[in-house]
Symmetry: C2
Subunit: 476 residues, 2 copies
């Protein structure tokens, strides 16, 4: 069987399931669902459905499964790897009406939340109870927590608090068959069969659609301190990163930013900042906890380390406003860099001590292929986002040569013990590089798992390890 | 095809692969491999092989796969769910020669370790470098880290530091096909395809054999404080548990012990302890960190909470020797309880605020079915080990009625939002209870995943969700 378009009869059934008002078919209505935050890519779905319950998702999926309709689940559309792009058309299931915080359980320090809740909205709600949900991607103000689950998201605080993988306890998932399951239990430990919760996290909507999420919460730390350290070279900044841990300090964030990143925030976001000559790189370092003396002590330890890495200046944020201003630099950097030019963003991750070699290599590869790059990211995790800027590169080079350059960057990443993506996922735009690290054996296991969950290959086709062998027109 | 016994020709091939000295066939030599620490169960394998390298494991597995020989991987044999019992005979692959700490990478705070290294040996080796590997099951002095991976192990410090799931970064795995893969990357984050590392953790040797493990390390905290709090009721002790977290303290351990557990340590381990009348339960509470003032402050916060829960006494350990003595009580409790009688141990886990209801229910179920139980465990995680003692129960009741009682305990556990095992695994002895929580859909997904990795069903047959449907005599 080949994938099928949605017939008028089927469309009518969709309308009966979710209600007339929540089925979109006009081109203008479909447009917002035709792109995410990935470069300038655009793919229109045939239809968008906006269900509100697991039962509705179940009924939709069952019909699509029986009729070989490709289905692309969609969160807030803030993804950077094209995971939400409906490359085979078909149906987009948009999760924006799953927007309820079902329960904040203060006794157990857990919460149940629907996948269409904006991450920051959820963080704020638990913060009001004195609790912390620490998984805060740069897009926290607009991304959905369901998308975070699907991508195994991180953010600046992973370095101390871990990724979303360490917070999700249990998931309600609708399978292509229409079956609705809970993947695990609402417990901090789980040793009861293969861990389906962990398998779903980072599966990018290819195995099932998440309709409810149970997460662990922790007590909100009372205090934090934030400092911005400036360095004459990228290598010095990156070198300081692993030394801070070796000194026994676990910062709550440890972010790297290139000078150019700051320049573009100044240019595009109106930042007022005294950017000194000779400074090439910055580390934004936060420590948090419940005791001011300990935080001060940690800051001193960090300072001592920085002195050994040719750090030119350390700026302490004294007030909440100053802290917000420093964070604004980091948080607006992605959009500032991207507003400048056509770009591609790659999400590299290596063991953290390999960062200096990685960043040096990225610049050398750029020089070889004639592209400029701006790097920033979660240096404490060894996670560097590499923004490749088209700038003056010719269209021909951009569309042909560049791919070889990116391949070299990923090759270097893998050679350093790393992998292609730390938190953005593989989606559409990284899948062609997966064979740099992974073998036919990995692909066979992944495809086998995919077949178990989605035998007809309807869920988010064309992603991660696709193109797969086809059976008829269906990816298997 | 049915499972086959190992033919003399195949045995000769095994000898060529691992060397004559490392193939055991005599009954006396096989005896140590015929049981683990699970009750009084005993199953002899036909043959034991003791390979030393991934290549040797690969060659063995390939032959067994081609010849339908059941293979049971074995660590130190300290498991409590019968996971290492060769219930279908065949070949036991004993991992004890995989006993090297390959590398402690102080720059990246990572280590590479073989699966046959004793957990405590590894902990001590990293502690010498000022680093902490915090996953310390009660059996840390004898269990293997490979077994810990296979069971998703925890231990007392999970409450602050997380389970082994949060420390394993990458695994070298041999598949039944003989293929050797690394499941992921040596990175703190990973969003590059389905997470095979997490899938392997807790899979109890049914998907592949782990031959090398890369783990994350953290800085060793400098100080800790340990206190033993006594309560007049189990419910009061369990009730205090979630209140401690709500007060904003995350202890590094928070262990529950019933009075009877202490009585048996006194009786069987020669403990000198002033066990006061009216005391029914204890919490062993540790806080750790790098600042003595903060630790003291945390202890005071804990104390304030305890006062609200009818705590009768708090004993502070002032010296290292006193700390060791308190830990000895907890660590020797399992063996002391078990030396007393035939027993069964069940590993329940619930959201932590449900502990008082769980323990009350366990006692009521015991009264109904006529069995005595001794409970202890990692209360901070909601994880309670329930030791059911045969005592005066008749053999008939023990062998028939008891199963219904255990089923009721697990039913209660599941009703409270929990699951059957938090850290011991399902193995052989819990598998019949899996259908209390899990549906045919779960079983179909698990079996599907099993088939992808192990299409001939040779790896650790008869465990977790077996008995499976048979194709010939092979579980699929």
């Amino acid at each position: 069987m080949d994938y099928k378009p949605v017939s008028p009869e089927l469309l009518q059934q969709f309308r009966l399931i979710v209600g007339e008002a929540y089925i979109l078919t006009d081109t203008d209505d479909l447009e917002p669902y035709s792109h995410d935050e990935t470069e300038d890519l655009q793919y229109y779905p045939q239809i968008v459905a906006r269900p509100q319950s697991a039962d509705e998702v179940s009924a939709l999926l069952k019909l699509c499964n029986e009729n070989y309709i490709p289905v692309t689940p969609r969160g807030a559309g803030t993804g950077l790897s094209g995971g939400a792009l409906p490359v085979k058309r078909g149906l987009v299931i948009a999760m924006e009406r799953f927007n309820k915080i079902v329960k904040i359980d203060e006794e157990n320090l857990q919460a149940t939340v629907e996948p269409g809740v904006i991450t920051e909205v959820f963080m704020d709600a638990v913060a009001e109870k004195g609790l912390l949900y620490p998984v805060d991607p740069a897009s926290k103000g607009s991304c959905f927590i369901g998308g975070n689950v699907s991508h195994g998201s991180g953010g600046p605080r992973v370095v101390k608090y871990g990724t979303i993988r360490e917070y999700v306890l249990n998931l309600q998932v609708v399978l292509p068959s229409g079956d609705i399951i809970w993947t695990g239990a609402n417990t901090l430990k789980y040793a009861s069969g293969y861990n389906l919760t962990q398998l779903m996290i980072g599966s990018e909507g290819t195995l099932g659609i998440v309709t409810a999420i149970v997460v662990k919460l922790i007590p909100q730390p009372k205090y934090n301190a934030l400092m911005l350290a400036s360095f004459t070279t990228n290598e010095a900044a990156c070198g300081a990163v692993s030394a801070i841990f070796r000194a026994g300090v676990i910062p709550s964030t440890l972010e790297f930013m290139e000078r150019k990143g700051i320049e573009w925030v100044i240019k595009f976001d109106g930042l007022v900042f005294d950017l000194k000559d000779g400074i090439e790189a910055f580390l934004l370092i936060e420590v948090d906890g419940n005791n001011q003396d300990v935080i001060l002590e940690n800051c001193e330890q960090v300072n001592t380390v920085l002195e050994n890495f040719d750090c030119k200046e350390v700026l302490f944020a004294d007030t909440t406003a100053q802290k917000e201003e420093l964070w604004r630099i980091r948080r607006t950097m992605p959009v500032s860099v991207k507003s400048n030019s056509v770009y591609k963003e790659e999400d590299t991750v290596v063991p953290r001590a390999a960062l200096p070699v990685l960043i040096k290599g990225i610049k050398e590869i750029g020089a070889k292929y004639g592209f400029e790059s701006v790097c920033y990211g979660h240096a404490g995790d060894g996670n560097l986002h590499v923004n490749i800027i088209k700038g003056n590169m010719s269209d021909i080079d951009w569309n042909t040569k560049l791919k070889d350059g990116i391949r070299e960057i990923f090759k270097l990443t893998v050679d350093l013990g790393g992998t292609l993506s730390g938190e953005h996922g593989i989606g559409l735009v990284q899948k062609d590089y997966m064979n740099i690290k992974y073998t036919d054996v990995h692909f066979a296991l992944w495809r086998g798992i995919k077949q178990v969950f989605d035998p007809n290959g309807i869920l988010n086709p064309g992603k991660i390890f696709a193109p797969s062998p086809l059976k008829g027109g269906i990816e298997v």
